[in-house]
Protein backbone atom coordinates (compact mmCIF):
# COMPACT_ATOMS: atom_id res chain seq x y z
CA UNK A 1 0.00 0.00 0.00
CA UNK A 2 1.54 3.31 -1.12
CA UNK A 3 1.82 6.17 1.37
CA UNK A 4 2.76 8.71 -1.30
CA UNK A 5 -0.89 9.48 -1.95
CA UNK A 6 -1.33 10.65 1.64
CA UNK A 7 0.27 13.98 0.79
CA UNK A 8 -2.09 16.29 -1.04
CA UNK A 9 -0.24 18.46 -3.53
CA UNK A 10 -1.89 21.61 -4.81
CA UNK A 11 -0.84 24.95 -6.22
CA UNK A 12 -4.15 26.75 -6.60
CA UNK A 13 -7.68 26.90 -5.30
CA UNK A 14 -10.89 27.16 -7.27
CA UNK A 15 -13.89 29.07 -5.93
CA UNK A 16 -17.55 28.26 -6.50
CA UNK A 17 -20.51 30.14 -5.10
CA UNK A 18 -24.23 29.51 -4.97
CA UNK A 19 -27.08 31.75 -3.93
CA UNK A 20 -28.56 31.54 -0.45
CA UNK A 21 -32.32 31.72 -0.03
CA UNK A 22 -32.56 34.57 2.44
CA UNK A 23 -35.81 33.23 3.89
CA UNK A 24 -35.06 29.52 4.03
CA UNK A 25 -31.29 29.26 4.15
CA UNK A 26 -28.75 27.57 1.88
CA UNK A 27 -30.11 25.90 -1.21
CA UNK A 28 -26.80 24.53 -2.44
CA UNK A 29 -25.53 21.72 -0.24
CA UNK A 30 -22.16 20.35 -1.19
CA UNK A 31 -22.73 16.66 -0.52
CA UNK A 32 -19.41 14.82 -0.55
CA UNK A 33 -21.22 11.57 -1.20
CA UNK A 34 -22.44 12.95 -4.52
CA UNK A 35 -20.29 15.85 -5.60
CA UNK A 36 -16.73 15.00 -4.63
CA UNK A 37 -15.14 14.08 -7.90
CA UNK A 38 -16.62 16.73 -10.15
CA UNK A 39 -14.61 18.21 -12.99
CA UNK A 40 -13.37 21.58 -11.82
CA UNK A 41 -14.58 23.22 -15.03
CA UNK A 42 -18.06 21.73 -14.63
CA UNK A 43 -19.29 22.13 -11.05
CA UNK A 44 -22.53 20.47 -9.98
CA UNK A 45 -25.63 22.65 -10.12
CA UNK A 46 -26.27 25.21 -8.70
CA UNK A 47 -22.63 26.05 -8.02
CA UNK A 48 -21.21 28.84 -10.18
CA UNK A 49 -17.55 28.70 -11.12
CA UNK A 50 -15.79 31.94 -10.19
CA UNK A 51 -12.34 30.85 -11.26
CA UNK A 52 -8.99 30.35 -9.62
CA UNK A 53 -8.34 32.41 -6.54
CA UNK A 54 -5.12 33.29 -4.78
CA UNK A 55 -3.98 33.76 -1.20
CA UNK A 56 -6.80 31.64 0.15
CA UNK A 57 -6.82 31.64 3.95
CA UNK A 58 -9.22 29.94 6.30
CA UNK A 59 -9.16 30.90 9.92
CA UNK A 60 -11.19 29.97 12.94
CA UNK A 61 -11.89 32.07 15.99
CA UNK A 62 -13.60 29.20 17.83
CA UNK A 63 -12.22 28.59 21.29
CA UNK A 64 -11.98 25.37 23.25
CA UNK A 65 -11.25 26.11 26.88
CA UNK A 66 -10.82 24.01 29.96
CA UNK A 67 -13.09 24.28 32.99
CA UNK A 68 -11.05 23.90 36.13
CA UNK A 69 -12.38 22.49 39.38
CA UNK A 70 -11.36 20.66 42.53
CA UNK A 71 -8.58 21.39 45.00
CA UNK A 72 -5.99 20.82 42.34
CA UNK A 73 -7.67 23.18 39.96
CA UNK A 74 -7.30 20.67 37.19
CA UNK A 75 -9.24 20.68 33.96
CA UNK A 76 -12.29 18.54 34.47
CA UNK A 77 -14.36 19.60 31.51
CA UNK A 78 -13.86 21.38 28.24
CA UNK A 79 -16.21 23.71 26.48
CA UNK A 80 -16.32 25.10 22.97
CA UNK A 81 -17.47 28.68 22.63
CA UNK A 82 -17.22 31.74 20.44
CA UNK A 83 -17.79 29.66 17.34
CA UNK A 84 -16.45 31.66 14.45
CA UNK A 85 -14.73 31.22 11.10
CA UNK A 86 -13.48 33.52 8.37
CA UNK A 87 -12.29 33.16 4.81
CA UNK A 88 -10.09 35.56 2.88
CA UNK A 89 -8.75 35.38 -0.64
CA UNK A 90 -8.22 37.31 -3.83
CA UNK A 91 -10.27 37.00 -6.97
CA UNK A 92 -8.11 37.31 -10.05
CA UNK A 93 -11.11 37.21 -12.37
CA UNK A 94 -13.34 40.28 -12.43
CA UNK A 95 -17.00 39.71 -13.14
CA UNK A 96 -20.43 40.56 -11.86
CA UNK A 97 -20.39 37.95 -9.10
CA UNK A 98 -16.76 38.43 -8.16
CA UNK A 99 -17.28 42.17 -7.71
CA UNK A 100 -20.48 41.65 -5.74
CA UNK A 101 -18.84 39.19 -3.39
CA UNK A 102 -15.75 41.32 -2.91
CA UNK A 103 -17.79 44.49 -2.47
CA UNK A 104 -20.29 42.88 -0.13
CA UNK A 105 -23.19 45.31 -0.60
CA UNK A 106 -25.68 45.88 -3.42
CA UNK A 107 -23.94 45.40 -6.74
CA UNK A 108 -25.27 47.68 -9.42
CA UNK A 109 -25.75 47.03 -13.10
CA UNK A 110 -25.20 50.32 -14.86
CA UNK A 111 -28.19 50.46 -17.17
CA UNK A 112 -27.78 52.20 -20.49
CA UNK A 113 -29.15 55.71 -20.20
CA UNK A 114 -30.25 58.46 -22.49
CA UNK A 115 -27.53 61.08 -23.11
CA UNK A 116 -29.82 63.74 -21.71
CA UNK A 117 -30.61 61.78 -18.54
CA UNK A 118 -29.53 62.89 -15.10
CA UNK A 119 -26.08 61.90 -13.87
CA UNK A 120 -25.65 59.44 -10.99
CA UNK A 121 -22.70 57.50 -9.58
CA UNK A 122 -24.38 54.20 -10.30
CA UNK A 123 -25.89 55.32 -13.59
CA UNK A 124 -28.53 57.84 -14.58
CA UNK A 125 -32.14 57.25 -15.56
CA UNK A 126 -32.24 54.21 -17.79
CA UNK A 127 -33.56 53.76 -21.29
CA UNK A 128 -36.87 51.98 -21.43
CA UNK A 129 -36.88 48.25 -20.79
CA UNK A 130 -37.87 45.75 -23.47
CA UNK A 131 -40.40 43.14 -22.29
CA UNK A 132 -39.65 39.47 -22.81
CA UNK A 133 -42.06 37.14 -24.53
CA UNK A 134 -43.30 33.97 -22.85
CA UNK A 135 -41.06 30.96 -23.38
CA UNK A 136 -37.78 32.65 -22.60
CA UNK A 137 -35.21 30.48 -20.82
CA UNK A 138 -32.04 31.02 -18.86
CA UNK A 139 -30.03 31.07 -22.07
CA UNK A 140 -32.43 32.41 -24.70
CA UNK A 141 -34.44 35.60 -24.31
CA UNK A 142 -37.42 35.92 -26.64
CA UNK A 143 -38.12 39.48 -27.77
CA UNK A 144 -39.84 39.30 -31.14
CA UNK A 145 -38.62 40.40 -34.54
CA UNK A 146 -38.89 44.12 -34.01
CA UNK A 147 -37.39 44.44 -30.55
CA UNK A 148 -34.44 42.18 -31.23
CA UNK A 149 -33.08 44.73 -33.68
CA UNK A 150 -32.19 46.93 -30.75
CA UNK A 151 -29.58 44.48 -29.53
CA UNK A 152 -26.34 43.19 -30.98
CA UNK A 153 -23.94 40.36 -30.39
CA UNK A 154 -21.73 41.25 -27.46
CA UNK A 155 -24.28 43.35 -25.60
CA UNK A 156 -24.62 42.88 -21.87
CA UNK A 157 -28.23 42.69 -20.70
CA UNK A 158 -29.95 42.65 -17.32
CA UNK A 159 -33.12 40.59 -17.17
CA UNK A 160 -35.67 40.80 -14.38
CA UNK A 161 -39.13 42.00 -13.44
CA UNK A 162 -40.16 45.59 -12.88
CA UNK A 163 -39.96 46.91 -9.34
CA UNK A 164 -43.54 46.82 -8.03
CA UNK A 165 -43.10 48.98 -4.94
CA UNK A 166 -42.67 45.94 -2.72
CA UNK A 167 -40.67 45.84 0.49
CA UNK A 168 -38.15 43.05 0.98
CA UNK A 169 -35.51 41.19 -0.98
CA UNK A 170 -35.31 41.85 -4.71
CA UNK A 171 -33.84 39.87 -7.56
CA UNK A 172 -34.88 36.73 -9.42
CA UNK A 173 -33.19 33.64 -8.09
CA UNK A 174 -30.57 35.54 -6.12
CA UNK A 175 -31.30 38.12 -3.43
CA UNK A 176 -29.56 41.19 -4.79
CA UNK A 177 -30.85 43.98 -2.54
CA UNK A 178 -33.30 44.71 0.24
CA UNK A 179 -35.70 47.62 0.00
CA UNK A 180 -37.18 48.97 3.21
CA UNK A 181 -39.11 51.80 1.65
CA UNK A 182 -40.04 52.23 -2.03
CA UNK A 183 -39.21 55.90 -1.74
CA UNK A 184 -35.59 54.95 -1.11
CA UNK A 185 -35.34 53.72 -4.67
CA UNK A 186 -37.52 56.53 -6.09
CA UNK A 187 -40.18 53.93 -6.98
CA UNK A 188 -37.94 53.24 -9.97
CA UNK A 189 -39.46 50.47 -12.08
CA UNK A 190 -35.96 49.59 -13.26
CA UNK A 191 -34.50 49.16 -9.77
CA UNK A 192 -34.66 45.35 -9.77
CA UNK A 193 -32.72 45.29 -13.05
CA UNK A 194 -30.20 47.71 -11.55
CA UNK A 195 -29.27 45.12 -8.93
CA UNK A 196 -30.26 41.75 -10.37
CA UNK A 197 -27.74 38.98 -10.84
CA UNK A 198 -29.60 37.86 -13.93
CA UNK A 199 -27.13 39.41 -16.32
CA UNK A 200 -25.78 37.86 -19.48
CA UNK A 201 -23.83 38.60 -22.63
CA UNK A 202 -25.45 38.14 -26.01
CA UNK A 203 -23.60 35.41 -27.90
CA UNK A 204 -25.71 35.91 -31.02
CA UNK A 205 -29.11 37.04 -32.09
CA UNK A 206 -31.79 35.16 -33.98
CA UNK A 207 -34.76 36.60 -35.83
CA UNK A 208 -36.64 37.02 -32.57
CA UNK A 209 -34.36 36.25 -29.64
CA UNK A 210 -31.07 36.82 -27.90
CA UNK A 211 -28.97 33.75 -27.17
CA UNK A 212 -26.72 34.25 -24.17
CA UNK A 213 -23.14 33.06 -23.82
CA UNK A 214 -23.71 31.98 -20.22
CA UNK A 215 -26.90 30.98 -18.44
CA UNK A 216 -28.53 33.60 -16.24
CA UNK A 217 -27.24 33.03 -12.67
CA UNK A 218 -30.70 33.48 -11.18
CA UNK A 219 -32.40 31.04 -13.51
CA UNK A 220 -35.02 31.50 -16.22
CA UNK A 221 -36.73 34.89 -16.36
CA UNK A 222 -39.92 35.27 -14.37
CA UNK A 223 -43.19 36.10 -16.07
CA UNK A 224 -43.32 39.80 -16.82
CA UNK A 225 -39.56 40.21 -16.96
CA UNK A 226 -37.91 42.75 -19.22
CA UNK A 227 -34.36 43.40 -20.31
CA UNK A 228 -32.14 46.44 -20.47
CA UNK A 229 -28.65 46.96 -21.78
CA UNK A 230 -25.88 47.11 -19.20
CA UNK A 231 -22.81 49.21 -19.83
CA UNK A 232 -20.77 48.53 -16.68
CA UNK A 233 -20.86 47.22 -13.11
CA UNK A 234 -20.56 49.34 -10.00
CA UNK A 235 -20.03 48.48 -6.38
CA UNK A 236 -19.98 51.07 -3.68
CA UNK A 237 -18.33 51.68 -0.36
CA UNK A 238 -21.45 51.81 1.75
CA UNK A 239 -24.93 50.51 1.23
CA UNK A 240 -27.18 48.70 3.66
CA UNK A 241 -27.32 45.27 2.07
CA UNK A 242 -25.04 42.35 2.89
CA UNK A 243 -24.53 39.60 0.35
CA UNK A 244 -25.01 36.01 1.50
CA UNK A 245 -23.76 33.11 -0.56
CA UNK A 246 -22.75 29.51 -0.08
CA UNK A 247 -19.07 28.99 -0.84
CA UNK A 248 -17.15 25.98 -2.03
CA UNK A 249 -13.38 25.99 -2.40
CA UNK A 250 -11.46 23.15 -3.98
CA UNK A 251 -7.71 22.70 -3.75
CA UNK A 252 -6.77 21.32 -7.13
CA UNK A 253 -5.64 17.76 -6.56
CA UNK A 254 -2.37 17.38 -8.40
CA UNK A 255 -1.16 14.40 -6.44
CA UNK A 256 -2.79 12.68 -3.53
CA UNK A 257 -6.34 13.38 -2.49
CA UNK A 258 -8.71 16.26 -3.13
CA UNK A 259 -9.55 18.70 -0.35
CA UNK A 260 -12.79 20.71 -0.45
CA UNK A 261 -13.99 23.42 1.89
CA UNK A 262 -17.71 24.05 2.04
CA UNK A 263 -19.27 27.04 3.76
CA UNK A 264 -23.08 26.94 3.84
CA UNK A 265 -23.41 30.68 4.42
CA UNK A 266 -20.73 33.30 3.84
CA UNK A 267 -21.32 36.95 4.48
CA UNK A 268 -18.87 39.77 3.81
CA UNK A 269 -16.69 40.76 6.71
CA UNK A 270 -13.68 42.97 7.14
CA UNK A 271 -11.84 42.72 10.39
CA UNK A 272 -8.85 44.93 9.81
CA UNK A 273 -8.96 48.67 10.25
CA UNK A 274 -7.33 49.29 6.88
CA UNK A 275 -8.80 46.66 4.64
CA UNK A 276 -7.28 46.85 1.17
CA UNK A 277 -10.02 46.58 -1.43
CA UNK A 278 -7.88 45.67 -4.39
CA UNK A 279 -4.20 45.43 -5.18
CA UNK A 280 -1.87 45.31 -8.12
CA UNK A 281 -0.09 41.99 -8.48
CA UNK A 282 3.09 42.69 -10.38
CA UNK A 283 3.69 40.80 -13.60
CA UNK A 284 6.69 42.83 -14.66
CA UNK A 285 7.12 46.44 -13.71
CA UNK A 286 5.14 48.49 -14.46
CA UNK A 287 2.63 45.86 -15.57
CA UNK A 288 0.37 44.43 -12.91
CA UNK A 289 -2.81 42.46 -12.55
CA UNK A 290 -5.67 43.88 -10.50
CA UNK A 291 -6.76 41.55 -7.73
CA UNK A 292 -10.06 41.83 -5.90
CA UNK A 293 -9.77 41.17 -2.18
CA UNK A 294 -12.65 39.31 -0.59
CA UNK A 295 -13.26 38.48 3.03
CA UNK A 296 -16.15 36.65 4.63
CA UNK A 297 -17.45 35.51 7.95
CA UNK A 298 -19.18 32.16 8.08
CA UNK A 299 -22.69 32.02 9.53
CA UNK A 300 -23.90 28.92 11.33
CA UNK A 301 -26.16 26.19 10.01
CA UNK A 302 -27.32 22.91 11.49
CA UNK A 303 -26.10 19.60 10.13
CA UNK A 304 -29.16 17.45 9.66
CA UNK A 305 -27.27 14.26 10.46
CA UNK A 306 -26.63 15.09 14.11
CA UNK A 307 -28.06 18.58 14.79
CA UNK A 308 -24.56 19.99 15.25
CA UNK A 309 -24.19 23.72 14.72
CA UNK A 310 -21.45 24.12 12.14
CA UNK A 311 -19.78 26.87 10.17
CA UNK A 312 -17.92 24.93 7.54
CA UNK A 313 -17.03 21.48 6.29
CA UNK A 314 -13.65 20.16 5.17
CA UNK A 315 -13.91 17.11 2.92
CA UNK A 316 -11.03 14.89 1.92
CA UNK A 317 -11.26 12.44 -0.94
CA UNK A 318 -8.30 10.07 -0.70
CA UNK A 319 -6.29 9.32 -3.79
CA UNK A 320 -7.01 6.02 -5.40
CA UNK A 321 -4.72 3.32 -4.12
CA UNK A 322 -3.35 5.36 -1.24
CA UNK A 323 -3.13 4.25 2.37
CA UNK A 324 -5.98 5.28 4.67
CA UNK A 325 -3.69 6.52 7.49
Amino acid sequence: MSRAGLRPISRQTRAYFAAVDRANGPTAIFDPSKDGGFQLDAPPSPWIDLGWIENFHRTTTSQIEGLNAGSAGAVVRQARHALGARVEFEFRDWGKLQMALAGGAEHMNVLASDPSANRAGSGGSALAAVPLLPGSTGTELLLGAGAVAGFRTGDLVACDVDYAQQVGYLGSGVAAAYVKNPADVRQDANYVRRVTFNVGRVAFTTSGSLVLAQALPGGPPLAGASIQKVTAFVDREGGAFLQQWSGLFVAEDESGGRVCFYYPILSPCTVRADWVKESLVEIQKPIGQMALHASFISLPTVDGNDAAVVLSYRSYFPASGSAVY
Partner: protein, 172 residues
Protein backbone atom coordinates in the same frame (compact mmCIF):
# COMPACT_ATOMS: atom_id res chain seq x y z
CA UNK B 1 11.48 6.75 -11.80
CA UNK B 2 10.54 5.17 -15.09
CA UNK B 3 6.89 5.26 -14.05
CA UNK B 4 7.07 9.05 -13.76
CA UNK B 5 8.72 9.39 -17.17
CA UNK B 6 6.23 7.08 -18.79
CA UNK B 7 3.24 8.71 -17.09
CA UNK B 8 4.33 12.17 -18.17
CA UNK B 9 4.89 11.09 -21.73
CA UNK B 10 1.63 9.18 -22.01
CA UNK B 11 -0.31 12.09 -20.52
CA UNK B 12 1.14 14.51 -23.05
CA UNK B 13 0.71 12.10 -25.94
CA UNK B 14 -2.95 11.52 -25.16
CA UNK B 15 -3.58 15.23 -24.75
CA UNK B 16 -1.84 16.04 -28.04
CA UNK B 17 -3.99 13.47 -29.80
CA UNK B 18 -7.03 15.30 -28.48
CA UNK B 19 -5.76 18.80 -29.13
CA UNK B 20 -4.56 18.23 -32.67
CA UNK B 21 -5.28 14.77 -34.07
CA UNK B 22 -3.57 15.70 -37.30
CA UNK B 23 -0.20 16.30 -35.66
CA UNK B 24 1.27 12.89 -36.31
CA UNK B 25 4.55 11.41 -37.41
CA UNK B 26 5.52 8.12 -38.93
CA UNK B 27 8.01 5.95 -37.09
CA UNK B 28 9.03 2.71 -38.70
CA UNK B 29 5.91 2.80 -40.82
CA UNK B 30 3.56 3.45 -37.93
CA UNK B 31 1.64 6.72 -37.61
CA UNK B 32 1.70 8.01 -34.04
CA UNK B 33 1.08 11.34 -32.29
CA UNK B 34 4.05 13.55 -33.03
CA UNK B 35 5.60 13.45 -29.61
CA UNK B 36 8.37 11.08 -28.65
CA UNK B 37 10.88 10.45 -25.89
CA UNK B 38 14.15 10.29 -27.69
CA UNK B 39 15.80 7.90 -25.22
CA UNK B 40 13.09 5.40 -26.11
CA UNK B 41 13.75 5.59 -29.84
CA UNK B 42 16.04 3.59 -31.99
CA UNK B 43 19.09 5.72 -32.67
CA UNK B 44 18.27 5.89 -36.37
CA UNK B 45 15.05 7.73 -35.60
CA UNK B 46 16.28 10.25 -33.02
CA UNK B 47 17.17 12.96 -35.49
CA UNK B 48 14.91 15.91 -34.87
CA UNK B 49 12.06 16.42 -37.29
CA UNK B 50 10.11 19.60 -37.76
CA UNK B 51 6.50 19.41 -36.66
CA UNK B 52 7.08 16.99 -33.80
CA UNK B 53 7.82 17.28 -30.09
CA UNK B 54 10.96 15.61 -28.80
CA UNK B 55 11.33 14.99 -25.07
CA UNK B 56 14.61 14.57 -23.20
CA UNK B 57 14.82 13.95 -19.48
CA UNK B 58 17.59 15.67 -17.58
CA UNK B 59 18.82 16.15 -14.04
CA UNK B 60 17.09 14.63 -11.06
CA UNK B 61 17.09 16.26 -7.66
CA UNK B 62 15.67 15.43 -4.27
CA UNK B 63 12.90 17.97 -3.73
CA UNK B 64 11.99 16.73 -0.28
CA UNK B 65 13.77 14.12 1.75
CA UNK B 66 11.33 13.24 4.53
CA UNK B 67 9.38 11.15 2.08
CA UNK B 68 11.33 11.00 -1.12
CA UNK B 69 9.93 13.49 -3.60
CA UNK B 70 12.02 13.90 -6.71
CA UNK B 71 12.20 16.63 -9.29
CA UNK B 72 13.24 15.69 -12.81
CA UNK B 73 14.06 18.17 -15.54
CA UNK B 74 12.44 17.71 -18.91
CA UNK B 75 13.43 19.44 -22.13
CA UNK B 76 11.02 19.59 -25.01
CA UNK B 77 12.26 20.45 -28.50
CA UNK B 78 10.18 21.32 -31.48
CA UNK B 79 10.57 23.19 -34.69
CA UNK B 80 8.73 24.32 -37.78
CA UNK B 81 9.75 24.81 -41.38
CA UNK B 82 6.39 26.12 -42.48
CA UNK B 83 4.31 24.69 -45.24
CA UNK B 84 4.06 24.96 -48.98
CA UNK B 85 7.76 25.16 -49.63
CA UNK B 86 8.17 28.89 -49.05
CA UNK B 87 8.16 28.54 -45.27
CA UNK B 88 6.62 31.94 -44.77
CA UNK B 89 4.19 30.51 -42.23
CA UNK B 90 6.87 28.81 -40.12
CA UNK B 91 6.41 31.32 -37.33
CA UNK B 92 2.67 30.77 -37.29
CA UNK B 93 3.14 27.02 -37.24
CA UNK B 94 5.61 27.31 -34.39
CA UNK B 95 3.06 29.41 -32.53
CA UNK B 96 0.54 26.61 -33.08
CA UNK B 97 3.00 24.20 -31.52
CA UNK B 98 3.59 26.61 -28.64
CA UNK B 99 -0.13 26.55 -27.99
CA UNK B 100 -0.28 22.79 -28.26
CA UNK B 101 2.56 22.42 -25.78
CA UNK B 102 0.82 24.69 -23.29
CA UNK B 103 -2.39 22.76 -23.87
CA UNK B 104 -0.66 19.44 -23.34
CA UNK B 105 0.84 20.66 -20.09
CA UNK B 106 -2.50 21.82 -18.68
CA UNK B 107 -3.62 20.66 -16.21
CA UNK B 108 -0.08 20.36 -14.89
CA UNK B 109 -0.56 16.99 -13.29
CA UNK B 110 -1.49 13.42 -14.06
CA UNK B 111 -1.88 10.11 -12.30
CA UNK B 112 1.22 7.94 -12.08
CA UNK B 113 1.04 4.44 -13.48
CA UNK B 114 3.52 1.63 -13.73
CA UNK B 115 3.43 0.83 -17.42
CA UNK B 116 5.91 -2.02 -17.03
CA UNK B 117 3.23 -4.21 -15.49
CA UNK B 118 0.32 -5.93 -17.12
CA UNK B 119 -2.24 -4.81 -16.38
CA UNK B 120 -0.98 -1.28 -15.84
CA UNK B 121 -0.82 -0.46 -12.13
CA UNK B 122 -2.08 2.75 -10.52
CA UNK B 123 0.67 3.79 -8.12
CA UNK B 124 -1.66 5.75 -5.86
CA UNK B 125 -0.11 9.19 -6.28
CA UNK B 126 0.44 11.59 -9.11
CA UNK B 127 3.06 13.50 -11.01
CA UNK B 128 2.92 17.25 -11.33
CA UNK B 129 5.04 19.73 -13.15
CA UNK B 130 5.93 23.36 -13.57
CA UNK B 131 4.69 25.59 -16.35
CA UNK B 132 7.08 25.19 -19.31
CA UNK B 133 9.59 27.94 -19.88
CA UNK B 134 9.80 28.39 -23.63
CA UNK B 135 13.09 29.61 -25.02
CA UNK B 136 15.01 29.63 -28.21
CA UNK B 137 17.38 26.74 -28.64
CA UNK B 138 20.36 27.56 -26.41
CA UNK B 139 24.01 27.31 -27.30
CA UNK B 140 25.58 24.08 -26.10
CA UNK B 141 22.25 22.34 -25.90
CA UNK B 142 22.08 18.55 -26.19
CA UNK B 143 20.94 18.89 -29.77
CA UNK B 144 23.09 20.84 -32.16
CA UNK B 145 21.53 24.19 -32.82
CA UNK B 146 22.27 23.88 -36.49
CA UNK B 147 20.22 20.75 -36.65
CA UNK B 148 17.25 22.65 -35.35
CA UNK B 149 17.65 25.99 -36.97
CA UNK B 150 18.76 24.57 -40.35
CA UNK B 151 19.66 27.96 -41.55
CA UNK B 152 16.88 30.48 -41.54
CA UNK B 153 14.32 28.11 -42.95
CA UNK B 154 13.50 26.55 -39.62
CA UNK B 155 12.39 28.12 -36.36
CA UNK B 156 12.75 26.14 -33.19
CA UNK B 157 11.76 26.17 -29.55
CA UNK B 158 13.36 24.68 -26.49
CA UNK B 159 10.99 24.35 -23.57
CA UNK B 160 11.96 23.34 -20.08
CA UNK B 161 9.93 22.21 -17.12
CA UNK B 162 10.41 20.12 -14.03
CA UNK B 163 8.35 17.08 -13.16
CA UNK B 164 7.81 16.23 -9.51
CA UNK B 165 6.78 12.88 -8.13
CA UNK B 166 6.98 10.72 -5.06
CA UNK B 167 9.02 7.59 -5.24
CA UNK B 168 6.60 4.71 -4.90
CA UNK B 169 7.19 2.95 -1.60
CA UNK B 170 5.64 0.06 0.21
CA UNK B 171 5.04 0.31 3.91
CA UNK B 172 2.11 -1.98 4.52
Amino acid sequence: MQAAKDSFYVALRERLAGLNPSRTMVIDGVTVPAIVVRENMEPRFVEAQAGAFFLDFGEILIAESSRPMLGMDCHIWYASEGSGGTGVDRGRMLADMDGELLGMCDPPHSAMFDYSRAPIEDLGSGIFWTVPVMNEVPEGSPVEKEQWSAGRGRVARYAQLRIYFFLPEVEA
